[in-house]
Amino acid sequence: MTETLLEVNDLNVAFRLASANLTVSSDVSFSVDRGKVLGLIGESGSGKTVTSKAILRLLPKNASLEAKAIRFKGQDISTLTEAEFNRLRGTELAMIFQDPAGSFNPVKTIGWHFRTVGKLHRGAGAPRAKIMAEAKDVLAKADIADPENALRKYPHQMSGGMLQRCLIALVMFSKPSLIVADEPTTNLDNLVERQILDLFDKLRRETDASFIFITHDMTIAEMISDSVIVMYAGQIVEQGPTEALMRRPQHPYTQGLVRTARELEGEVETLTEISGEIGTGIHPENRCRFAPRCPLYEKACDYAIALRPVEGHGLVRCIKAGQSNGTGG
């Protein structure tokens, strides 16, 4: 039986700029089940990072957040005070960033970080030897060959891949229930990227933590996640179980992304293009935001379009969803 760990209801995020209010995430609702991985797919400007940061309250000062509710383990965490939320963020919620170096204090050893986190979670009186033994254990689980040695090192003495492993280990050390990973492999080389993905795959099977895995890469999302959300211009355009979504994408945007990914895996002479580019800045409120780029565009797309369920699939924000590709209208 699945248990809902996180439930986000109508999340809206806007940035106050000198000239205008910029809505970057509108009416985003989704849930994550315990022990599952949610893939959050989108390009720059899609609102994927902002959405996840909003859940962890990591938005910059000029951002305003509105949500009907953000329920974590049944409790509405959007109404918590800053202090209460901080406690939650240290223990139950964690984030892994694209650049692991930024998450470590550069003048402290890896061991220091584990001791600090250890004291926070196991209490100040926890025996140091026990903390370090546990740290070694979790580093070994993160495929670090010589944990003893790693604990003595400073962040700058490690390669990007090793540091990302250490960060993942450090996050797992505090045993959070939900881990948000924001493009954790984007700046890594191919081989290391693959290793880190393998590590995530292993962790999700070996722990009961849930993951929100943010990526722009369809094939990575396919490899790692149980269900997928595709965001475009601040809105969810499609969501559903990974397999169904990848096999029969319903939204023209998702169809384009999946097609490009599949074409690059195979051998084609020319790639099928999605024309145009995601608009920057203010998106029209009462119109399909993908309409300017959509091959299936018609008059009816000039109205606000709601997410609606598609049989055996999930939710899709397109009036043509459910019809077979390209023949609708």
Partner: protein, 316 residues
């Protein structure tokens, strides 16, 4: 196929900044970012240089363009030493925003090379600019915009238009799509393929993206820590990679296979033996000869060469 551009034993040396103590201890403070690379590029082909960070794939291109000085060997175009100022070789950079001068409009940026190489004068300048913009799929409305007013794909198109302004024969593209959004990548990749035919270009495409390399490139060169390890037709290399490193690298494409990559340390250019094969530390097939000398190229198929002792050296 006629060879257009040739890299002959090219060496590019970087000075590593080391502390005074290690200098006193006699530790070497420079290393070859590109180490005796021989590579020939045929007219009209798209050659992919594939490698991870530190492989020297970008450095070798910048050396060919005179942005790094060459410490040994030579680069020749059509059998003659490559001249750097005549515009026959151009480059498209990874980050399109920083590759365009923020103070120049798109039209100004394109006008400079046109004027410099005498390809347009005051009278037909506007027309020449519009033609170039049209070639890369941009409308005339972009002429008077500044770089920060364009989106990523539009910027990369503008950067390509500017590169085409000198009427180059060779275009180096350094990770030209890796900073672009996924939905825009296909547009630029198709554009490059189209331009190769319409503008009689030879393209050297530097990338770490194995999918992109397979789609775009006719031939592939695999580099690892300054050394060229394998070179051959894309289809042959992907179907049957010969070098253990290429096998490991291409193995990441197979999502069904588990833990393909070795977790052992990579080559360290400052501390490891530079005479040995660069891949020695990680290689599952390492043998005695590997630590003596970096292997020479062996013929491993039609037009396919691999620098590895696993294969027989050609006798003829």
């Amino acid at each position: 196929m006629s060879e257009l551009l040739e890299f002959d034993d090219v060496v590019v040396t970087f000075a590593a900044s080391a502390g005074m103590m290690s200098r006193l201890r006699g530790r070497t403070t420079s290393f070859n970012a590109v180490d005796r690379v021989n590579l020939s590029v045929a007219r009209g082909e798209i050659l992919g240089i594939v490698g991870e960070s530190g492989s020297g794939k970008t450095t070798i291109c910048k050396a060919a363009l005179g942005l790094h000085s060459i410490a040994g060997g030579a680069v020749s175009l059509d059998g003659k030493p490559a001249r750097l100022s005549d515009g026959t070789m151009q480059m498209v950079f990874q980050d399109p925003l920083s590759s365009l001068n923020p103070r120049q409009t798109i039209a100004e940026a394109i006008a400079i090379p046109l004027r410099l190489h005498g390809r347009a004068r005051r009278g037909n300048m506007a027309e020449a600019i519009d033609t170039l913009l049209k070639d890369v799929g941009l409308g005339a409305q972009f002429r008077n915009r500044f770089p920060h007013e364009l989106s990523g794909g539009q910027l990369q198109r503008a950067a390509i238009a500017r590169a085409l302004a000198t009427n180059p024969r060779v275009l180096f593209a350094d990770e030209a799509v890796s900073k672009l959004d996924v939905s825009v990548r296909a547009q630029i990749l198709n554009l490059l393929k189209r331009l190769r035919d319409s503008h009689d270009l030879t393209i050297i495409f530097v990338t770490h993206d194995l999918h992109v390399a397979r789609f775009l490139c006719d031939r592939i060169a695999i580099m690892y820590f300054g050394k060229l390890l394998e070179f051959g037709p894309t289809r042959a290399v992907y179907a049957d990679p010969k070098h253990p490193y290429t096998q490991e690298l291409l193995g990441t494409l197979d999502h069904e296979r588990k833990s393909v990559a070795s977790t052992r340390d990579v080559f360290n250019p400052l501390t490891d033996d530079r005479r040995a094969c660069r891949y020695l530390n990680r290689c599952p097939h390492a043998m005695a000869a590997c630590s003596d000398r970096h292997p020479d190229f062996r013929n491993t198929g039609p037009g396919h060469a691999t620098a590895c002792y696993l294969y027989e050296e050609a006798t003829q």
